[in-house]
Subunit: 196 residues, 2 copies
DNA sequence: TGATTTATGGAACGATCAGTACTAAATTCT
DNA sequence: AGAATTTAGTACTGATCGTTCCATAAATCA
């Protein structure tokens, strides 16, 4: 049986609030003060429940990654074809141009860019998250090949890396204020590269 | 005539040293302490000569941008063809994989990712720097079209955005630890998109 | 009810942040 | 030489950083 005062907050909601802060401000620039306010809990509760800022970030990044991979994985499953999954994913992302979502970017690519190849867990987990995205693209390309939308003769690994590179570039383009037309044109060329 | 004690440091070298710090650590994460040490000057000299941290960053970014655009512009001029300029630029960048240079990335794309669409001059200048890169790609694509290496029927603006997106993505890929093979494969697919 | 266990709120920690003020040093012009 | 002017070095500002500590509140078990 549990003893003592029960926690008055939802660890789940608190972690999601922290994720939003890291998403908007990055890892190092997110202060514990901002995190506390967004999470609506006291200092001691944060350290009690999540350890410290680094561990909280790892938890936030983990949630983001797992949520994203799961959501995209489902979307790939139910898509009429893997190719339509890929084209609609990139086209919809390009259409975010100018909005708040475009300015936010993607926590994974943001983290990879900020933390680069440093030592330490945050950088390490950012790299692992990029690998997870590439793995998802790999699965989609592989399925598109079995479905006949991409030639089986083409290198699946290379195409997966190409799509990760494309999505990373698209997110940077959107962050730098590209409009919907510019982003869409670039995306169409990128998608064209899948079929030649 | 100038009166008073002459400065004992080279403003040029100091600015370059600051650029290196911002390049490695980003804008917000670079402390004045680190900057002072790298620039080998005292606190008062920094504020006397460069105003404040923000202005120092703007100066560093301006130098980086102008130096890069000038260097690439010359390289484009002397290249046997605009297409060889583009292919060798991307291929050489991919070959940086694993090295310190790959980990550093590009100050312009780093800044665009970190500063996004915020208010304020640093963000504004980062976006302008991205535009400068796109303009350079535009020039290269345009020349490649007159040289017959890219069909004139194709949208030059779209191709320029596509290349900026590609370079941004490649930089992120390299930062996240991609090896030379992975980066090269992705780059070849990207370059293939220029000719179809 | 009383002892025990856990969460909470907030004060406080030392370190560091960007930026300023002031004194001393170094040079030029008169 | 001496006045004027500018740089350099450093102590200092108030603010904020991530983290710890401790007294108090709230729950469970005996």
């Amino acid at each position: 049986m549990t003893r003592g005062r029960p926690i008055a907050f939802s660890p789940d909601e608190a972690a999601n609030a922290a994720m939003q802060v890291f998403w908007n401000r990055g890892y190092e620039s997110s202060s514990t003060r901002e995190l506390l306010e967004a999470m609506c809990l006291s200092r001691s509760s944060l350290y009690q429940a999540f350890g410290n800022k680094e561990q909280l970030f790892l938890e936030a990044l983990r949630r983001y990654r797992e949520s994203l991979v799961e959501r995209l994985g489902r979307r790939l499953e139910v898509a009429p074809s893997a190719m339509t999954f890929l084209t609609s994913l990139f086209r919809e992302t390009a259409q975010e141009a100018g909005g708040d979502r475009a300015a936010q970017g993607c926590l994974i690519f943001n983290s990879a860019s900020e933390l680069g190849q440093r030592d330490g867990l945050p950088s390490q987990h950012a790299r692992h998250s990029i690998a997870a995205i590439t793995a998802l693209f790999h699965e989609a390309v592989s399925r598109a090949q079995t479905e006949g939308d991409i030639a089986s003769s083409r290198n699946t690994d290379a195409l997966a890396s190409y799509l990760t590179m494309g999505m990373a570039g698209l997110r940077t383009l959107l962050k730098s204020g590209a409009d919907a037309e510019q982003a869409s044109q670039a995306v169409e060329l990128l998608l064209g590269g899948l079929q030649h």
